[in-house]
């Protein structure tokens, strides 16, 4: 990431912190990138 324009990196940093402040930590944890929030589990398998 060291090759990324520092101004862009700083804008991303500010935007992420602003979004977290808006939705809260629970809002972050509810996002789809947290598998437990989606209850993504192994599909049930039918017995043979």
């Amino acid at each position: 990431m060291d090759k990324l324009n520092p101004k862009v990196m700083e804008a991303i940093r500010v935007a992420v912190h602003q979004a977290i402040a808006e939705v809260g930590i629970e809002g972050v944890r509810a996002m789809s990138l947290f598998p437990s929030a989606q209850k993504e589990r192994a599909p049930y398998k039918l017995a043979a």
Binding site: M1, M9, I20, I25, R29, S32, F34, A42
Partner: protein, 180 residues
């Protein structure tokens, strides 16, 4: 702040094996089984790495990337990247799908303060990739849930206001970044 490096995961160079070994160890540390961890998303990522999910065809390309901590060498997020040419858009578009965080983060073992660092590293890493191996003028993040839309609406508005890209806009289930 934790620094991360985004890296491509491949079968041939052993990076996919290193990634899986790390996430298996993270699951074990949390007392959980790797086979039950995000099976749908990880199956898609595995399918891309082993060639079961090929790109539609040239100039489309597909790959898997992961965010590795420069401090402890662990992987803290992974995603699918798909480089495509879409109608009505200038240049190529890099689509980001199936983003998942690592077991240690998901199971709440890591401090929530790390969430911001991971999200910053992920977005920055994807933009870095769009300037290197998957060169693209547009980046589209797939938003899979209402919580994704809430977060990325706030994120997009703030990033758009920073004037570092031509535009950052939410379009339904996607966040569109038009770089130039």
């Amino acid at each position: 702040m934790v620094d991360f490096t985004i890296c491509s995961l491949e079968l041939d160079d052993g990076t996919w094996s290193a990634f899986e070994a790390d996430w298996k160890a993270q699951c074990a540390k949390a007392g959980e089984g790797y086979d039950d961890y995000a099976p749908n998303s990880l199956d898609v990522l595995r399918g891309i790495v082993d060639g079961r999910v090929p790109p539609v065809g040239p100039p489309d390309r597909v790959g898997v990337s992961a965010l590795r901590s420069d401090e402890d060498g662990c992987f803290y997020a992974a995603c699918m990247l798909n480089l495509v040419r879409l109608p009505r858009l200038t240049g190529m578009t890099l689509r980001v799908r199936h983003v998942i965080v690592s077991p240690l983060i998901d199971f709440g073992i890591m401090d929530p303060n790390l969430y911001a660092d991971v999200l910053i590293g992920l977005v920055g890493g994807v933009i870095h990739i769009s300037e290197s191996i998957f060169e693209a003028n547009n980046i589209h993040f797939h938003l899979r849930s209402p919580a994704d839309i809430d977060f990325f609406r706030a994120f997009g508005k703030a990033l758009d206001g920073a004037d570092v890209f031509r535009s950052v806009q939410n379009h339904g289930a996607w966040l569109h970044i038009e770089k130039t």
